[in-house]
Symmetry: C2
Amino acid sequence: MERLEVAKKARLTKPSAIHGMSALAASMPDAVALSWARPDAPTPDHINNAAIEAIKKDLTSKYSPPPGLSKLREVIAEKVRRDNNIEVEADGVLVTTGAMEGIFAALLVLVDPGDEVLMPSPNYTTHELSVKMSSATPVYFPTIEEEGWRLDIDGLKKAITKKTKAILYCNPCNPTGAVFPEEDLRKVAEIAIENNLWIITDEAYEYFLFDGEKHFCIGSIPEMKGRVVENFTLTKTYAMTGWRIGYDVSTPDLIKEVIKAHTPMTICAPVVSQHASIEAITGPQDCVKEFYNHYLEWRNLMCSRLDRLSSIFSYHKPKGSYNMFPKILTKEGKDSVSFCMNLLKGAKVATTPGAPFGPTGEGHLRLCFCSSKEVITEAFDRMDKYFGI
Amino acid sequence: MERLEVAKKARLTKPSAIHGMSALAASMPDAVALSWARPDAPTPDHINNAAIEAIKKDLTSKYSPPPGLSKLREVIAEKVRRDNNIEVEADGVLVTTGAMEGIFAALLVLVDPGDEVLMPSPNYTTHELSVKMSSATPVYFPTIEEEGWRLDIDGLKKAITKKTKAILYCNPCNPTGAVFPEEDLRKVAEIAIENNLWIITDEAYEYFLFDGEKHFCIGSIPEMKGRVVENFTLTKTYAMTGWRIGYDVSTPDLIKEVIKAHTPMTICAPVVSQHASIEAITGPQDCVKEFYNHYLEWRNLMCSRLDRLSSIFSYHKPKGSYNMFPKILTKEGKDSVSFCMNLLKGAKVATTPGAPFGPTGEGHLRLCFCSSKEVITEAFDRMDKYFGI
């Protein structure tokens, strides 16, 4: 009898490197982690309290409609019009179980098996996993490291083939912390229109831009209407990663399409989290400002500590997100997986190797500055010692 | 310029008929609904309180590991060994955002585009949606209505082709309420082994079996080890549909495969719901007994009311779940969508047309008896009047 084998796409796919490293680090209780892009702060009290109130009022027992609670879709539409400059009503919003679900569902309804999906390199590893699990083909186009990981527009044009169906990117970028400027995104939009390509975005870090940078949504370009599914999340903005809540924004017709994949995924987003999210969006926003100030301070701390390790790492100061992607200058750094593994074993500092972030990720590592001053200080004290600085 | 089109699989797929009817019914405030398989009861207090306690202790802010909280995986494994007779440890459990997510993730890693997935007809509509969104081909095999919707084992054998890769079924069955006997499932297992097919199950209604029927898990057959992914949910058992929590049970190796699709779907199940679930599984089980007694009583009520409408409907008494699938005897019933639409408009009773449940679903309608005595009584009073009984 022939062997019972899993699907080809699964055989060709490795498990998430990020989660693998996090799991290994978690098994070492004395390790310090810069590896998971997960805010260390608790969810703010007023958001937690809204969840508790909703539970007490028995508003959380039952499914919501698959696209989400009406009230939540309305307040999201208002936020998107105000902060993202996209003209949308509640019927252009789909509440999802985190931004990843929205991205995966959009991929499943927009691209068929064998279609190519373009992503910049480096790029968030889980996007590649989504593309592969859609039976589509991930194709990378370059970014320009020397210019702070800017999109290589000519490289994007060259990567387009007859099979290209969509462009997927994360802005601000995980892992590099690059913020793609409006000027470049307008060029991406032109290319998408010329070549009849969908655009799927991941805007998880939209509120964490530094040094006067401005966040630009490609969906705010009127000509892009009906060509874009933008994905947002509350989990990064409000320290709610455990609550699993995000949303897709598009035209009502495209949202109806995305629901065809959203329904078999989760039917509806967790309802308790939907109630917490109404409060997150409509309640006081001081917490976002506070997180922002922390991340800015911790970014600066991480950069100044990296400056002391300038024989080991070079870097571009991240303009957004709470991730950065230093280059490893030592010859051991050419194999980022071994480098990070040795760092974990030798210095008890967990980081994420660059290799899985795309073809230009090798020779780098991802560091997250969303934990705390103490964690960052301790991690770099250990690294100083480990590298003999 | 050519038109920018969604994926072929999306163009070929209709939105969920169940959710469409529920949405329409929801827009009619005076309609009575027998259409959505959603318990009307609130989540029990002790489960809600466990969620509230977890929030207060700040256990819900952050991602859990992708496969779920260790403690939850352990108590699930214990439950599965005890109640489902499957030998499994925590590493054979994947916590998912409802059973649907587990089924869809299993499909994505087990079947490739173009593979055929066999399902009995009638079958839960969202399974077909999952198969289509996996770019696989749904293929139905018959059940025997005259024998209470029993699986047609010869029909199953005949439906197998070179492209068949998996069998997916729901037991107890949604929409028919049939309970597939151990004898038949052992034959399904033999067929799966002979033909080298995966089996994916949906056991959402495992605790709601009536008239002395016993629930049998195909994964409890030792020879089936490594060939089955069984999917369970807490949402039906504990009236927790809004919390979105379920789990996959398989071998540790297969669970690792399923995680490749689970990660890009939701990263991890909502953490607040995971804490509620620990309490649901380990806390007092009186609530399950209470729900059971209600469903049994309401099933009997629904059947006796249907007996009064014997010129309109015939039915097989459901042996499990809280759904049943009467046959419509009138000539209008040949088009179940129109029949149900007229019933909604004329009698203000929402039901679900049978047509979307598979090729033998037409001419039937699904009725759910999970609401309350009052709702069922009111719905049938209206139907008596509408049909002039």
